[in-house]
Symmetry: none
Subunit: 207 residues, 4 copies
Amino acid sequence: MVDDQPVKTSRRDRQIQRKRREIIEAATRLFSEKGYGGTTTRDIADAVDIGESTLYNYFENKRDILLAIITETGFLFDDVIGQVKRLDNRQALVELYEKAFNVFISRIAFTRTLLAQAWMDNEILESFVTYRLGHIAGLIQALIQKEIDEGVFRPIDPAQGARMAIGMFLGAMVPVLRGTEPPPTPAEYRRISEGIVTVLWDGIGNH
Amino acid sequence: MVDDQPVKTSRRDRQIQRKRREIIEAATRLFSEKGYGGTTTRDIADAVDIGESTLYNYFENKRDILLAIITETGFLFDDVIGQVKRLDNRQALVELYEKAFNVFISRIAFTRTLLAQAWMDNEILESFVTYRLGHIAGLIQALIQKEIDEGVFRPIDPAQGARMAIGMFLGAMVPVLRGTEPPPTPAEYRRISEGIVTVLWDGIGNH
Amino acid sequence: MVDDQPVKTSRRDRQIQRKRREIIEAATRLFSEKGYGGTTTRDIADAVDIGESTLYNYFENKRDILLAIITETGFLFDDVIGQVKRLDNRQALVELYEKAFNVFISRIAFTRTLLAQAWMDNEILESFVTYRLGHIAGLIQALIQKEIDEGVFRPIDPAQGARMAIGMFLGAMVPVLRGTEPPPTPAEYRRISEGIVTVLWDGIGNH
Amino acid sequence: MVDDQPVKTSRRDRQIQRKRREIIEAATRLFSEKGYGGTTTRDIADAVDIGESTLYNYFENKRDILLAIITETGFLFDDVIGQVKRLDNRQALVELYEKAFNVFISRIAFTRTLLAQAWMDNEILESFVTYRLGHIAGLIQALIQKEIDEGVFRPIDPAQGARMAIGMFLGAMVPVLRGTEPPPTPAEYRRISEGIVTVLWDGIGNH
DNA sequence: AATGAATGAGTTTTCATTCAT
DNA sequence: AATGAATGAAAACTCATTCAT
């Protein structure tokens, strides 16, 4: 009896969390297909097969669903960043690319929604994208600067170099996110990662 | 009187075209600021200082305004593409980048709107972006292939190379389109163009 | 065991009655602050710190809470009326005023809610106000008639006189109920009661 | 042709004003019957036989209708107040009562709505009632003070006297506004006005 | 060609109430 | 008896579009 109490509570809690997840996942999919504005609360409710008003037992309002998607899925991105302790050589960059491909591709619908929203919505851009992207860009710049200092790289503007590095990532991801190309397999994006880093270091030229 | 007729008509036509342009320009700005869905027909009418219903004398409906923006401004992009007769050497690619920067940056609001829309809307993606981007990608791939054939490039996948080339362009453009960085000056994007091409050919490495 | 039964039951009953009272008091306060329509069942439940649905174990529905407030608090007013055995002289009227002030002011929130509701809701007006107010008005009219008969009063319309008597009460109470004036102290409303009766008998004039 | 312009405009303007009036009148009636909260925008639209959304061409939102009722009908009350240049004797007070009865009774639905709303809504109380009622109360207090100074009145608290004067007005009006008594005829409220003032001056007592 | 007025079809959100546990 | 979860019904409000003038 005494032990039942915590079990009961956590079962109920798990029930709630499960439903929240369900809603978030349905909404993520819908937002990525039709956009946030193009998705109605009714669409979401229908997708989870609950009444429209039931949504409001789990979320304050529609925007709250969007923010929940971003915060509750976004932490996956922090893991990637967190794992990058030191980005101090070529191989580390390859691995960063790989991890980034992995997390982007495992959450295509999420990423597509996030980018669409960050494109128009300053709050979302700032509260989610700016910090993380800035952090990554900083790491890459530091790496470039180090290689310059060691005489491995030509003295280029590290900021511009970082934009190139990120741009090449975008060049590979955007068609996938947009759905014009199928998601690469892990083997493929390992190869792409290496390809990008090789070009960054040595270009395509045949030296 | 008889001679007047055509003059009159063409004057009226010019009048109409001028108003259409005005609407298109106002709508482009509004769409780029608030998104297509976030912009009301009332917003557009107010911006041009006409009645809301007057819009419908110039355009079938709201979406038609969006399509008109894309087709009537989009042709500028065709010029860039059209001018690229032969993309057969490094310098030609630098020049392509420069022209592309030029046209993107001179129409930031348009480009921002176009990308936002193409991100969600298949019709717009296909009818406008796919073809042009595919064409450019094809040119770049052909160039890469040629360099490979001539032994200048290592034997990489030309498609992947093209994605890198386009990605580096995105890496420079996206922050500008998104408004997180100021538009570069012509001198700056000349330098950026050269920087990108240099990296493509030789990497950042200090050979 | 056998004796326990009734004790148990009455303890439970008392428990129930206590909770009912709690709900009624919280609801009275909320209704007087935000109006009946402006108060949600959730507001009430929160104020008593119970679940929203638990309310329905004590009351049929929201309106039932309102009716319970009115009947279960309203009986206090009956006491005032009941105590007025004979309203047959000036002093008795002073005392009636005093008692009325006392009961109104000791239940400002209730009175405010009651008046607000009776203003729009015929059922409440009739089932609660009409009878009691009519009774009081009748007593006052009878007093006036008696004074006329005895030659103390001029022959005025007793009904109109009663409306004046009640009106002067309203003139003193309304600003307090509305919250634009602080509630008078017992000493003050004794003075006000005498003042009103004096004006009724002799006017403000300096005879 | 030149003269047509202003005519056209004013005809259209008159059309708009007419519709606004229609809406305001229907809303006033509905609000006085079912309360502001109990009246839906649909009720109002139906009463004027227009689409619900058409309301929003004439008013910003529902509350705006209420405020329009109050400001656009309320000015009638200002006329009454404005006409009271000097409230310096008994007869002037009688006339003030008469005018007040007149305006209250000619707009029963409005007055009932106003009082209901001012009872709960501080903004409306302050922006409309407080000032005007305060002004009237001030005039009455000044009159009482004057009569005290001239030895005509006993030295009572003028504020309390004013509350009695206003209270007696309420005593006569409230049952009419509430609909429990039929509106008095002009002859009747003249008699009531005189009755109230007589009681104020001399009481009901038979001196 | 220009437009004021009208509106249908939604959209998000609220809330009293029910019901299974 | 207590309540979390679910919801139908309605509410205010929006907006692209039509139409008569």
